[in-house]
Symmetry: C2
C-alpha cells in the first residue's frame, strides 16, 4: 500500500506513468528518449531504477522478449486510494438523485 504512494511521490516516476498511458509497451530507451522530449532529463540507470520501484508497487509490468523489455501500465493499485478515503466524483455524469 505505502509502496504505491512512495512510487507516485517522484515526479519522474509520474512522468513515466503518463508516458506509458500515452503509449503502452515501451522499452527502456524509448522511455528515456521520450522523457527527454518532455523536458525530463534522466540517465538510463536512473530510469531503470524508477521502473523497478514502479514494478514493485504493482503499477508497471515487465515483459521480456529477446533483448527488449517492454513495460505496460497497471492502474489497478490506484483504485485502493479512492476506496480508502471516500472521494466524491464531483457529481459526475452518474448523478441522478
Amino acid at each position: 500500500m505505502g509502496d504505491v504512494f512512495k512510487a507516485l511521490a517522484d515526479p519522474t516516476r509520474r512522468a513515466l506513468l503518463d508516458e506509458l498511458q500515452d503509449r503502452d509497451g515501451q522499452t527502456l530507451f524509448e522511455l528515456c528518449t521520450r522523457l527527454l522530449h518532455r523536458g525530463v532529463s534522466s540517465s538510463r540507470q536512473a530510469v531503470s531504477q524508477h521502473l523497478d520501484v514502479l514494478e514493485q508497487a504493482g503499477l508497471v509490468r515487465r515483459r521480456r522478449e529477446g533483448r527488449y523489455t517492454f513495460h505496460s501500465l497497471d492502474t489497478s493499485p490506484l483504485r485502493a486510494i479512492t476506496e480508502r478515503w471516500r472521494i466524491d466524483p464531483e457529481e459526475g455524469p452518474c448523478g441522478s438523485p
Copy 2:
C-alpha cells in the same frame, strides 16, 4: 501535486487521515492519543510536523480557537489522482451501456 503524494507516502500520515475521517475536528493531543490506541506511537512534535505536511498538501485544514487547534480533513486534492490516470471504478453502479 507532488506534495499530495509525498504526504501520502508516510504510514503515520495516512493513519492521521484515517483518524480525521473517523472523527473530524480533532486537536493535536486527541490525534496523538488516538494514534496510540491504533498502535502508532509518535511524539507530539512528530505528529505536529506530519500535520504541517498534510496542511501544505491541502489535505488538512487548521482552525485555531483559543488554545486549541482543530484539524479537519479535505479529500479534494485526491480527486486529481483519479482524473490524471483513468481509473475504472470497477464498473460501479454507474455502468449502463
